[in-house]
Each structure stands twice: as structure tokens, then as C-alpha cells.
């Protein structure tokens, strides 16, 4: 049966076919055999995650799940964690629907209805938001259903309702930003808000846990008697999602109606103004930024010129600065823990050192990608009379300086608590930074800086090895701080093995430079 061109179904099938080709291409890189390998890896990973989830939920279910405030607080708190991730993802995707120009110019210049396209894209965002949340929550929900009864499958319905709600809220926030700050700033502010929402809840709950209980266990605060006592009564509508997730059908229907209703209103309201704002967003690239008159040229060696350029580009990209600061934001809870333990005990260093080591590795990975792969004037730098090694060294120095600037105050704080722990942290930071930079160097592929968001998609091997290496170095530092040094050898050896593996599978190119 043929579909009426430019209808909602036609747009939906077009979007789905684009999504599927992108997804399949990304997963298999065009090789069918990779699809089989990937399927096997996914099945094994899913089994492992389900086993882990079983270990988490089985003891809780064994105690007997009572419909009381403590259970509701735990479920609602956990649900809020998921919803913050959903909202963050939805907000970012909605903004992208307005600003990504891939096929928008073609569709907006055609006689097809932009309203229908936006309606389809908004629904697609809701579906992908739900898919992400389901991916994260599936092991827990499945094991709750297996160990505690099928009523827990209702949690999937709650996820669907809340993903629709997250998308609707994302649409309304974007529209409000367009009205309040204009198309020039909407994207940046929405991205920052999305990042803060994504991380804010976790960071906030950690900070509360630290202040109240002196631990970084984010669930400790949800189980505390003072929080449970302060929570609303059992009859409160605040517990509607928790009751629905536990299999209460009327509450589940209410949640679905509320979420889907909000999404329908958002689609109707926003579809009317979509072309207007999408066209306004297209004009943003034309805006010019003027700086104060340049100072006289400063003498510079090629290395200095490269370093200054990297720092200027980083400083002038507010989105990149926000992404970098997000890593720093994650360091706030450990910093808080250090602060409240200041002068009292060296125990806090045990918690803080691995977090700092891990964050430094992640930060280095992002910065190294920008400096090594995200070189907008690649041809210019390669045709310059500077040895490739010198270029590389200058760029690595630029990255190292930024990381040093960020971690130095934390190292100083740790040093006041325990000089030994500070030394271990410094070594760990060096190892994780060097590993992440080396991996980015081996996997570098020329790209525009604006592709930063997609860097993790472009090389999954680099992303995974970078994360594993950082985790292993963080583990090494943690064991060195607390336990017998000999045990630290194991994660350190694993980190080196990850590096060896990454090096052995690095792509080989014939391009100069």
C-alpha cells in the first residue's frame, strides 16, 4: 500500500528509515559480521546487567515490599534520577530539532507541512527518550518482575508516561527560551540546562548525603528516617508514580493520560511556531562577534602559537566551556566531602582520590579530542613547516595545562588532609590523563570541532578504552590510598592491557600528518 506523500505516516516512515540506517551503520560500520558479533556482545552484557540487578533487588524483595512511605521515597527518588536523565536527553533532542540543518532547509522550502514534520520528530524524541530510559531501567524492572511478580512490569508504563512528559517539558522549555532569550542564545542555554539537569540531581543528592551523613552513597539519604518522616502522607498524589510502578492500574492509567496529554498539547502548541523558530535559528550563524581591537602581534614560536590558539578556541566556545565545567561540577561533591572533613581525618581522601583521577581522565579525553581531532584548519597545520611531533607536543601541552589548572586546587586540598594521598592522586591523574590523551592520539580522525558531541559515536573503541582505562587508574589510586599496595597492581595491569589493546586496534591511515 502506498502512503500519501508529505503525510504524517510518510514523514514517520522517512524518519524511521533514516534512523535505522544511521543506527545500523554506526553499529556495524557496514559489515554484516559485525552485526552478529554485536548481537552476541549485547546479549552477554544484558545477562550480566540482569545478574547485577538481581543482586541489588533480591535482598530488598526478600525483606518483603511493604506499601509504606519508605518504599515510596525509595521508588520516587530512584524514579526522579531516571526522569532527570530523560528530561536532559529530551531537552537536548528538541533543541537539535530546531537547529540541525541537515534536511530542514529542503523541507522548509518545500510545500510540505512543517507542522507534520515537527509532530513526527517530537514523537520520535519521546520514543528515543523512552528507549534510553528503558535501556537503563530494564535490568531492574525485569528482575523485579521475575523475583517479585509481573505487577512490576507496570513500571514500563510509568517510563512511557514520563518520557512523554519529559519531551513535553523539553518542548515547553525550548519555546520559552526562544521567547525569552531569542534564537541566538536558546541552543546554548538549553544545552547547559540539559547538562545541569542530567547531572544536577545526582550531584545534589550526593551533596545532601555528604552534608547529612558524611558518605557519598546517594541512596543513603533516601533511606534515612528524617527524610521518610518529612515525606508526604501515603494518600498524597506525589506517590502516584510509585504506586503505578508497583502495579496499581488506575494510577498507571492516570500517569499515561497525564504524560501523553502533555505531549499532545506540546505538539499542537509548538507545531504552529516550528517553522518560525527553525527559520530564526537558521539565521543565527550569520551573527558576528566583534572583539576589542587586537593587541600588537606577540612574538611566538610555532609551539606557542599552537598553544595560544587552543586556549583561545576553548575559552571562546561557551558550550565547550560548559561541558568542561560539567566535569568540574562532578568534582564538587568530593570537594565538599574534603571540606567538611578538613583537618579531621584522612579517610575522606579514600573517597575523593579515585573520583578526581576518573574525572581528570574524562576531562583529558574530551580536551584531547578537541585539540588532536577537532582541528578546523587541519590542512594549514599540516602544510606548516613544523614537524608533526612538535605540533603534537604543543597540543598535548595545551591540554595538560588546562587539566593542571583545574585539578591543582583539589590536589592542594587533598595534600592538607594527607600528603601521601595527594601524591597518589597526582600519579593517578597523570596516568589517566596520559592514557586518555594517548588513546585520542591513536584514534585521531580529522573532524570539525562542532562534531564534539558526536565524538563518542565516531569511535566506540576509543570511548570504551578511554573509560575503562580511567576506571582502572581510579581503582589503582583507590587501592593505593587504602589497602596493600600489591593489590593495586591488578587494576594497573588491566589499565595497561586496555592501552595495549587500544594501540593494537588503532586505525592506520596513509594521510600525512
Amino acid at each position: 500500500m502506498s502512503v500519501q506523500p508529505a503525510s504524517i505516516t510518510w514523514f514517520a516512515s522517512h524518519e524511521f528509515s533514516l534512523f535505522w540506517r544511521d543506527f545500523w551503520g554506526m553499529m556495524t560500520a557496514g559489515r554484516r559480521r559485525r552485526g552478529v558479533v554485536l548481537a552476541i556482545v549485547l546479549v552477554i552484557a544484558a545477562l550480566l546487567l540482569h545478574l547485577l540487578a538481581h543482586a541489588l533487588v533480591a535482598p530488598w524483595l526478600a525483606q518483603g515490599v511493604v506499601t509504606d512511605k519508605a518504599t515510596f521515597v525509595l521508588l520516587t527518588g530512584g524514579g526522579l534520577l531516571f526522569w532527570s536523565v530523560m528530561l536532559s536527553q529530551a531537552l537536548e533532542s528538541v533543541t537539535r530539532a530546531y537547529y540541525a540543518r541537515a534536511d530542514l532547509d529542503l523541507i522548509l522550502s518545500s510545500p510540505a507541512s512543517a507542522r507534520r514534520l515537527f509532530a513526527v520528530r517530537t514523537l520520535a524524541i519521546a520514543l528515543s527518550t523512552m528507549a534510553l530510559a528503558a535501556l537503563l531501567a530494564a535490568p531492574l524492572i525485569d528482575m523485579l518482575a521475575i523475583d517479585g511478580g509481573p505487577r512490576w512490569l507496570a513500571a514500563y508504563g510509568v517510563l512511557a508516561g514520563f518520557s512523554a512528559l519529559a519531551t513535553a517539558v523539553g518542548v515547553f522549555i525550548t519555546l520559552a527560551l526562544f521567547k525569552l532569550v531569542g534564537p541566538k542564545r536558546t541552543r546554548l542555554i538549553a544545552q547547559i540546562v540539559a547538562a545541569i539537569i542530567g547531572a544536577g540531581f545526582i550531584i545534589g543528592i550526593q551533596a545532601v548525603a555528604i552534608l547529612s551523613y558524611g558518605t557519598m552513597n546517594r541512596f543513603a539519604v533516601l533511606q534515612s528516617s528524617s527524610v521518610v518522616a518529612a515525606a508526604p502522607d501515603l494518600s498524597s498524589p506525589a506517590w502516584l508514580p510509585a504506586r503505578a510502578a508497583m502495579g496499581n492500574v488506575p494510577d498507571l492509567v492516570l500517569i499515561l493520560l497525564f504524560g501523553l496529554g502533555a505531549l499532545a498539547i506540546a505538539v499542537v502548541v509548538s507545531a504552529r511556531s516550528f517553522s518560525h523558530y527553525a527559520i530564526a535559528a537558521a539565521g543565527v550563524g550569520q551573527a558576528r562577534v566583534r572583539h576589542r581591537a587586537a593587541r600588537n602581534f606577540r612574538p611566538a614560536s610555532p609551539g606557542q602559537a599552537l598553544r595560544r590558539k587552543e586556549w583561545a578556541l576553548l575559552r571562546r566556545d561557551p558550550w565547550l566551556v560548559s561541558q568542561t565545567l560539567m566535569q568540574v561540577l562532578y568534582l564538587l561533591p568530593p570537594a565538599l566531602l574534603l571540606w567538611i572533613n578538613f583537618g579531621r581525618s584522612a579517610g575522606a581522601a579514600t573517597v575523593v582520590v579515585p573520583v578526581v583521577v576518573m574525572a581528570a581522565g574524562q576531562l583529558a579525553g574530551g580536551l584531547a579530542w578537541l585539540a588532536l581531532s577537532g582541528e578546523d584548519a587541519h590542512d594549514l597545520v599540516v602544510t606548516a613547516p613544523v614537524a608533526a611531533g612538535k605540533v603534537l607536543r604543543a597540543k598535548i601541552e595545551a591540554i595538560a595545562a588546562v587539566i593542571a589548572l583545574i585539578v591543582a586546587p583539589l590536589l592542594l586540598l587533598i595534600g592538607f588532609l594527607s600528603p601521601v594521598a595527594a601524591g597518589i592522586a597526582a600519579l593517578g591523574i597523570f596516568a589517566s590523563t596520559a592514557s586518555a590523551t594517548a588513546i585520542q592520539m591513536w584514534f585521531r580522525a580529522q573532524a570539525r570541532r562542532s562534531m564534539f558531541r558526536r565524538r563518542q559515536v565516531s569511535s566506540r573503541a576509543a570511548t570504551l578504552s578511554e573509560a575503562f582505562a580511567s576506571i582502572m587508574w581510579a581503582g589503582t589510586a583507590a587501592i593505593l590510598t587504602t589497602g596493600p599496595a600489591i593489590l593495586a597492581m591488578f587494576p594497573a595491569i588491566l589499565a595497561l592491557l586496555v592501552l595495549l589493546l587500544a594501540w593494537s586496534i588503532r586505525p592506520r591511515t596513509s594521510t600525512a600528518g
Binding site: G285, P302, L380, T383, A384, S510, A512
Partner: protein, 250 residues
């Protein structure tokens, strides 16, 4: 009298990807001349010029720039070469002056000298009013002019341009052409590829035609006319004839 050193001397140069892109090519460009390099799409022009600029490694053959073997001393060769492609290589978040300062740093041009040249170039190209604006909001023509200024700020002896006029309006194209002709008058060598044959016809002293990775014809416009049946024909007639003849022979 000793023979002057050619600006570019290429012997038996080859580069293959899935198939040969440049196939045993020989080419000599004299110092101080404006050389036009023509060829149909996929003929190997860009691959050839990227090897000369040091952006690709040849599979075999040699490239010599003003007597410097690029395989032996790539850095020395790069010192005298500038590369301009059809996609301007400019940073969105730097101003034209900052960009030129960066390029001058890479080529180690003394700061005072670089600043004077940079301001002169921006003035010459009509970019001085935008010298302190970020390049991010510039049109394609303005970006191409910034890239050209970057290529000239270190006073190269050989400028290689790959389709530099693509996407430029008449005014910007005229400015770029004038700058290039002025540089040739000053003794700089220019090698340029273009699909706008009128430009090559009017500007180039000698023209080389590449097809399937080989140089199939070379000479002044009159010399090329002599090789075809178009005694008074335009470069377009001659070019199409030469390419068709080569395809038929192959």
C-alpha cells in the same frame, strides 16, 4: 648560463587509493610563472597538489620544490609553499588578525614584520573593517579571502590553489585574481586548478591538462591550440577535445 631551478619538479609520481589517482606523472613548473592545471572531475588534480603540499604521501616518485626534495627535507620545502583549498581552513572563533598571527607563528615570521604584512593584506583584500570580528559569521567569499591572506602572510615562493574561486561572487573572485596576478608580477610562482576555464585562459601563462592521473597535454594556449583542430577555439573547446581524444585512445 646555468639553468634556473624550477619552482616545482615532479618525476614519475604515483598515488593509488582503490585505483590509481596519480599515475607516473611528470611535471615541471618554472619559477615565477602562473600555471593552470585543468582536468575533468576525478582526474587526480587535487591528489597531485595535496602531495606537493605535503598533505598526502606519494606511493612512488619524487617532488622537488625550488630544488628541495620534499621526501628528504619536508620542513624546508614547506617553508616556501602556501596551500589554499576550495574549503577555507579558518577558525570560526578567531578574528582575521588573530588567524594571521597564528599562521605567522607557525611559519616563524618575526612579529613586527608579520603584523605589517597582515594589516597590508587585510586592507588589500577589503577585510580591514572586519579585522576584529570572529570569522564565524563571515560569508564564503570573506573566509576564502582570510585563507588567502593566511597563505600570503609568510611570503611564500610557491602558492598552490585548489579551486580557490569556487563559490565566490564576482567582486571577491576579482580581488583574489588581482592579488594572485600581483604576486606573479613580484616573482612568486602560482599553480592553480579551476573548472572555470575562462579564468585559466586569461590568467595562466602555461596550462597542463590531466586525465586519469596523467599529464596528457601542456603548453601555452597557442601551443595547445596547435595540438587540436581548434585553431581559434576557446580553451573550453581545446580542453574538451584533448580529454575526449585521451578517453578514446584509452
Amino acid at each position: 648560463m646555468p639553468t634556473p631551478v624550477p619552482a616545482l619538479d615532479i618525476h614519475n609520481l604515483s598515488k593509488s587509493f582503490d585505483r590509481p589517482a596519480v599515475d607516473g606523472l611528470d611535471l615541471t613548473v618554472r619559477a615565477g610563472e602562473f600555471y593552470g592545471l585543468l582536468g575533468p572531475n576525478g582526474a587526480g588534480k587535487t591528489t597531485l597538489l595535496r602531495m606537493v603540499a605535503g598533505l598526502l604521501q606519494p606511493d612512488s616518485g619524487s617532488i622537488s620544490i625550488f630544488g628541495i626534495d620534499t621526501a628528504r627535507d619536508a620542513i624546508a620545502a614547506k617553508r616556501v609553499v602556501a596551500w589554499v583549498s576550495d574549503e577555507p581552513m579558518v577558525y570560526d572563533r578567531l578574528t582575521p588578525l588573530e588567524y594571521l598571527q597564528f599562521v605567522a607563528g607557525l611559519w616563524e615570521v618575526p612579529a613586527g614584520e608579520a603584523e605589517a604584512t597582515a594589516r597590508e593584506l587585510l586592507d588589500w583584500l577589503g577585510l580591514m573593517p572586519h579585522a576584529d570580528e570572529r570569522c564565524g559569521g563571515f560569508s564564503k567569499g570573506m573566509l576564502q579571502k582570510v585563507a588567502l591572506a593566511g597563505a600570503l602572510v609568510h611570503n611564500p615562493r610557491l602558492i598552490i590553489l585548489d579551486e580557490p574561486l569556487t563559490g565566490l561572487d564576482a567582486g571577491a573572485a576579482r580581488q583574489v585574481k588581482n592579488v594572485l596576478l600581483e604576486k606573479v608580477r613580484e616573482g612568486v610562482t602560482v599553480i592553480m586548478t579551476t573548472h572555470i576555464l575562462e579564468v585559466a585562459e586569461r590568467m595562466a601563462e602555461r596550462i597542463g591538462v590531466i586525465a586519469k592521473g596523467r599529464l596528457i597535454a601542456e603548453g601555452t594556449l597557442d601551443e595547445l591550440r596547435g595540438r587540436t583542430r581548434h585553431d581559434q577555439g576557446s580553451l573550453e573547446d581545446i580542453f574538451l577535445d584533448l580529454v575526449a581524444e585521451h578517453s578514446a585512445a584509452a
